[in-house]
Symmetry: C2
Subunit: 153 residues, 2 copies
């Protein structure tokens, strides 16, 4: 544990990879993965080549994780951060959040239909996917039409 030591540089106490990772609750590899993906800027380096992060990187990672939990892909998060960094605030985030709400609603609707079909299986007492002996068997779900749930799981 030599991690409680702080590198000093122009502008404040800098952090090393392991410190940032621990404080943000992510893996060290993830940090470099995000750097490759353009989510976090390439940090300054020590003379020996070790990364030296400004402390606000931790907050940035928290924001990234929050956005992910809202259903944004890393690519979308990268874009949002990018437009944010370019100055002039745009209605981009708002618009994207609204679009995301529609996506979420669609997913919820699909899941609701699925839940319905599952409940039918249970209440009808289906005992086989292919040779069900229950009366009025709901299988194989005519209402779950081909292609209605493109990639839904």
């Amino acid at each position: 544990m030599r991690q409680d030591v702080v590198l000093r540089g122009p502008g404040g106490p800098y952090l090393r990879t392991g410190q940032v990772a621990e404080q943000a609750g992510v893996n060290v590899q993830t940090l470099r993965y995000y750097e490759r993906r353009g989510l976090i800027a390439e940090p300054a380096r020590s003379p020996g080549g070790h990364r030296s992060y400004p402390p606000e990187t931790v907050a940035l990672l928290t924001v990234i994780k929050a956005a992910q939990r809202l259903g944004f892909t890393l690519e979308e998060v990268a874009e949002l951060l990018d437009t944010g960094r370019r100055g002039h605030p745009t209605p981009d985030l708002r618009a994207r959040a609204q679009a995301k709400i529609l996506e979420v609603d669609a997913k919820i609707a699909d899941l609701t239909t699925i839940r319905h079909a599952l409940a039918q299986v249970v209440s009808a007492g289906c005992d086989s996917l292919t040779h069900c002996t229950c009366p009025d068997c709901p299988l194989p779900f005519a209402d779950l039409a081909e292609g209605r749930f493109p990639k839904e799981s």
Copy 2:
């Protein structure tokens, strides 16, 4: 298009790969993938080694696709088909459907929370993930606690 010709064999009109794939609306590669995964049985072969499927394979594929849309993984579908094939009907399908309902409910609950947070972003008028200027900014979503949505998208 020589696919409208039917191979005849013991028990009925047999189908070739392309015919099954087309009728079931899946890719030819997928068919062989399912065979490798044990979802469909290895079909008979022509003297030259071409697969020759019984016509009910198309229905089986429909069932597989329906089960997938219900949220079962291919592995789960394979197991369900397997216990079905082994004769003696078990309450397996019913139990699994009930468990799946719980999974679906959990997903819906997560999505509902997410929808809530998104709606807050919209109504508060957030304009940046990192430097939002809106009053009482809900970012970065303290209620979406770390780890609450392990793999949710």
